[in-house]
Symmetry: C2
Subunit: 336 residues, 2 copies
């Protein structure tokens, strides 16, 4: 994709000028794992980081079928109507076996995609949580440097990806729907704790009453959970992406929250914590890769694995032996 | 929990004799992260590994509300009625923020828990996928050494825990229900690929027809997916944990599959692959921990993190610098 020679200064200028083709190309460059793309990607990011950090970063998750795409389209168009420039990034956890997409390839957010002030980009992020966040973080930097002031990071709620999305955003929305069983309520408890705002979608027609009731119940639950910031109390709200009911109110709540978080300094503290935690994970991933790719360690690993498979030693013994052979002395706290 | 002095030989004998208190205590010992428990845990496992490997290991997952507990109770009691000895292990991914349980603390599988030939144990496994599998693997060893011949490993289907459960079992069942939206069908695609058997639960009363139809549709989808073994073609089946309809048929299918897999040698190949992959992950986790706990590396990490937070360097530069300071030469493929 990036094998065609290109001028990096031109690409940087293109991103700055919010030229779509340049933004797309810059994203492809930082997403690339090809060795020859790493140096230009680093240079690109070095040039763009000073221009980044000025957008509101909103994370959205929800169970499959909650209507995330429809909501984001409505919400994005509403913001764009107010003059905002909206970028939507979809984190798409891939299927463990085929590497296929679980968000599907149907056309999503058609109007928003075509809007001149908006940008929609799926990120098929394979691999570790650290990997998901790394690429998304860098894509956010590019979008912010291009002048997008509202970044929406979306993921389907199937486990760890919520945590990844929350780790790169300022404000986290959980989109849910009525009709959940007992166990689902139990499941939600874990995710509810992550949410700054819960929107009960599809509050229209025959479902409106049930949606209002669920929203009230959720507000009851939220009341008993510790808030993630002393400057913002999470709440629930019924909305309809179909009729547009509640979208304006949701947006007002988000704006109020961001203002609070920004004025109190919590926004910056939160971003610093996110960056620090992510770096920690990145360091871990890279250290592990560097050490385990050493031929001597690789060979030892193979020998130990064969012995565990044969039943000669336990897995715990194998690990002890491998660690003992690293060029470090964990006991004496010294590098040799 | 293991601070009371105990005799390890007695504990080993107790597990061998399938004494419940001993089995429970042995599990607590291998689950312990306390340093003084590690040596006895290793010795215990060394003694029990030769006695393990003889059970059928069945993994079960399903969306919240699919009726997993009720099905496992029905299925377990059916097996026990045939003379099997059933152990149920529940992998319980914890809430990211509070560490709380998402399976809830309601009484589950009440009859099975009380059955003299059965054993039900939840495993609140925090941390990495490797960690989930490690503890579960070791708990399986204990249960098998105690003579349980049917091990059921259950998890709620909220992402990565399915993959963890599949990585420690021989046969993987997906329990699902009707009433899924379009997007849910898309979501299932990823998990469907992992399944050896899909059971459409709640095929009773007014729901029976819809369940039969979903089962037929799933069989259509399965037909187009590559089978995980040339000796077993995954299929779907409507069942009712309420009426018991389909439970016998499901069990016959599982038995037929296990016989096929065992006779073809696939069962053993599969277990060896699982063990190898898991060891790989375990080595990675431990290497990373050993290296990053070195004070010199810890300090460098702090300095680099501060520089990234200040915006002086990019995250990529920080990683390059940290890796460059490790006591290894990745370029020359040599340990110093």
């Amino acid at each position: 994709m990036t094998s065609i020679p290109f001028s990096l200064p031109k690409l940087i200028d293109g991103v700055r000028a919010c030229d779509r083709a340049s933004v797309g190309r810059a994203i492809t460059l930082v997403e690339s794992t090809a060795p020859h793309d790493q140096a230009p990607a680093e240079e690109l990011l070095r040039a763009l980081i000073p221009l980044s950090g000025n957008a509101i970063r909103v994370g959205i998750t929800g169970v499959p079928g909650a209507g995330k795409s429809t909501f984001i389209e409505r919400f994005g168009l509403h913001r764009a109507g107010e003059g905002a420039r909206v970028a939507v990034l979809a984190i798409d956890p891939s299927s463990p076996r085929s590497g296929g997409s679980i968000l599907g390839d149907k056309t999503r957010m058609e109007q928003l995609s075509k809007h001149t002030d908006c940008f929609v980009r799926p990120s098929p992020s394979r691999g570790s949580l650290g990997g998901i966040s790394q690429k998304t973080r860098e894509v956010i930097i590019i979008c912010e440097a291009a002048g997008f002031d509202t970044i929406i990071v979306e993921t389907v709620g199937v486990g760890q990806s919520e945590v990844a999305v929350r780790s790169v955003t300022d404000f986290f929305i959980l989109l849910c729907i009525t009709g959940a069983g007992d166990e689902l309520q139990g499941f939600k408890k874990g995710v509810i704790e992550l949410a700054d705002l819960i929107l009960v979608n599809k509050a229209d027609g025959e479902n409106e009453r049930a949606a209002r009731q669920l929203s009230a119940e959720l507000n009851g639950i939220l009341h008993y959970l510790p808030p993630s910031s002393p400057h913002w109390s999470p709440r629930a709200l019924p909305i309809s992406s179909l009729s547009g009911e509640g979208i304006l109110e949701a947006d007002s709540l988000i704006k109020a929250a961001i203002t609070e978080l920004r004025n109190s300094g919590d926004l910056q503290t939160h971003r610093t914590t996110q960056l620090t935690e992510w770096l920690e994970r990145l360091f871990r991933d890279e250290v592990e890769r560097a050490v385990l790719s050493l031929p001597e360690i690789k060979k030892l690993q193979q020998v130990l694995t064969a012995r565990v498979v044969k039943g000669d030693i336990t897995a715990r013994e194998a690990v002890r032996e491998l660690i003992g052979r690293l060029p470090i002395h964990p006991e004496s706290d010294q590098i040799l």
